[in-house]
């Protein structure tokens, strides 16, 4: 159960960030506590994906001002691999295909980097195969995918399941899932959503970035945030997502106008 006494995992304050000299985020504030599921919704170009990339430390994105704290520590000076190791996981909207790199080897190296951080013993190939076979069940993936190159020739749904498989192996503290639902048919959506639900822990948290409410039928968020023009302009509960689905994003424009009028 979530209470305001739960530990804060992620705290973002006044975050301004740019890519290629264009400011995209204009002051994002977000607080995520243990056990919470947050949904961030908004139009294309509202800054949702940028926010996820900035949290993960993508080198093309520059933080202009503001702060991101993870478990009370400023992470802005950490390299992306360091952020991943301490438990920040980004599920990619478009998982990258890497020809020639075996999915199994990639998963093993990644899992061992995280395990090392957690002071757990690193797994050899045999031990890892046992672990990965067990985790494959969570996303109902065939072991044949392990033998292929990372994401190469995977369908949209298979790529997203591979992302959730990585989440299952890395056991992150916070997972930011960028449009994990896009391009999925109903069955794949259900599998992915059930995987995310199964992986939720009382001491971890999830941020779902999505366009549509349909993912939220499968995963119930504690908070729904609406982003527009690089800011979170409204925060509510699941009802907000339902309202949004009903009235479309036009109400955001109205909301912005009303705010301007009030000024």
């Amino acid at each position: 159960m979530i209470s305001s006494n739960s530990e804060i995992i992620l705290s973002i304050e006044g975050l301004h960030a740019s890519v290629e000299d264009q400011e995209i985020l204009h002051g994002v504030n977000l607080l995520v506590r243990e056990g919470e599921i947050h949904a961030i919704m908004g139009r294309n170009g509202s800054g949702k994906s940028t926010l996820s990339k900035v949290i993960a430390g993508h080198p093309s994105y520059k933080v202009l001002s503001g702060s991101i704290q993870f478990n009370g520590t400023n992470i802005l000076d950490l390299a992306p691999e360091e952020r991943a190791r301490i438990g920040i996981f980004l599920g990619f909207q478009y998982p990258v295909e890497i020809p020639g790199v075996s999915n199994l080897e990639f998963l093993r190296v990644a899992t061992n980097s995280r395990r090392k951080q957690l002071l757990k013993t690193e797994l050899d190939t045999f031990e890892f195969e046992d672990l990965v076979k067990e985790r494959l069940k969570i996303v109902e993936m065939d072991a044949a995918f392990l033998e292929r190159s990372v994401n190469e020739g995977f369908s949209g749904g298979e790529k997203k399941r591979n992302e959730i498989l990585q989440m299952a192996l890395l056991e992150p503290v916070i997972s930011i899932l960028d449009e994990t639902d896009s391009g999925l048919d109903i069955d794949a959506l259900r599998i992915v959503a059930s995987g995310i639900n199964r992986l939720s822990q009382p001491n971890s948290a999830t941020i779902l970035i999505t366009h549509y409410q349909r993912l939220l039928n499968e995963i119930t968020p504690d908070f729904v945030h609406i982003m527009a023009d690089g800011k979170i302009i409204k925060t509510g509960n699941k009802e907000l997502a339902i309202d949004l689905e009903k009235s479309g994003y036009d109400f955001i424009d109205k909301n912005i106008k009303d705010k301007e009028m009030a000024k």
Binding site: H58, V96, P99, G100, V101, S113, V150
Partner: protein, 415 residues
Amino acid sequence: MKSSTISQEWLDSLPLTDGYLKNEQLKGREFLLTQGIPCKKDEAWRLSNFNKLDSFFSLPTTIDSEDLKSTFKFVSPEKDKNREKIIINSYKNPTFNINLPNGIEKLNNREIELNIGRIVKSANINNDISVSLNQASSSNLLALKVKRNFKQSLEIVIPSIEGKSISTRIFLLIEEGAKLDLLQVFLGNLNSAQNHLIEIKLESEAELNHGLISLGEEKKSSSICTLAVEQSKKSSYSLHSIHHGWDYARYEPRIIQSEGEASTIIKGLQVTKSKEQIATHSLIRFEGPNGKLDQLQKAVASEYSHCIFNGSIQVPQKAQKTEAAQLSRNLLLSKRARIDTKPELEIVADDVRCTHGATVSQLQDEELFYLLSRGIDNKHANSLLLKGYYDEVISQFPKSAGKWNFIEKLIQDIK
């Protein structure tokens, strides 16, 4: 720019021979004397770093037993029962001290007379400096035929000798319907040069899976290799090569499908660092219809190095229904490194399917970020990406290639 002449003294010092190679020597020496060291005006050599060619034409070629002691210091993987290994030392006639396995025989005099030099001629590379250098300096010949009943794989290792210029001449006849897995290994040495002329004839329905591992390893090591292959109808030839660690290397595969209707696969990788220069000049010609070619040439250039690829494909009128695909993919890892890649398709036949393409890129930032975002450190992520890049060429080497552990080297050496 005028060619530098080759010293008469050096030419006179080349070991003489009798027999089949005697005429070749005369021809080669004559050509070198008039032609001189290649220069910018020679189209096929214009991108070469000419300073790096000196060693081939100036290092001593006489080899004594002391040289051999220092040469065989390298650790070569253990022999196994399914793989016959021949280590060529240019000191002795290579066929003297090998016990040939069942299914491989030496060519007899008549077969040698009939075959030697013929492929070089049909590949139209008679007046080529690489070939002439080998003709002028080779005094021994390894000429073998592989019979239909041969079941093992063959490994031919040629190490360079410190401070020397060596040359080897090989002829292989793969008889009708025979299958061979052949792994060739060239190893460099400090301040050394090696040049090779390899002729291979595949009779009809013969299959050759040919791997070539060419590793310079030591400072100032150089290599020139001409590989002339003639394929008869319904033969299949696949050639996988890596070149790495040479101060200078030039690799010239010339493949002729003499009647068409054969299949050729070529996958080449060259990886350069520091100030090295490695060049591949390939030529594939179809002399009949229904031939197939799948060619992939990859290069990785780092630091101040230079990779060159010149890929020629000739499809004359008689080669209708040829299907040929050539792709050159290149990774440029430093601002100071250089890659030159040039496809040259001459297509006269009108009913053919020929494609070609070339790309030059850097390691993909998005691929790198994906790996980093999973906690993999930068160095390891780069290694994984390089390994992935090499994989298309390396994964199809003959199985015994893995024992040479060259993949780690290809990754560690590249910064």
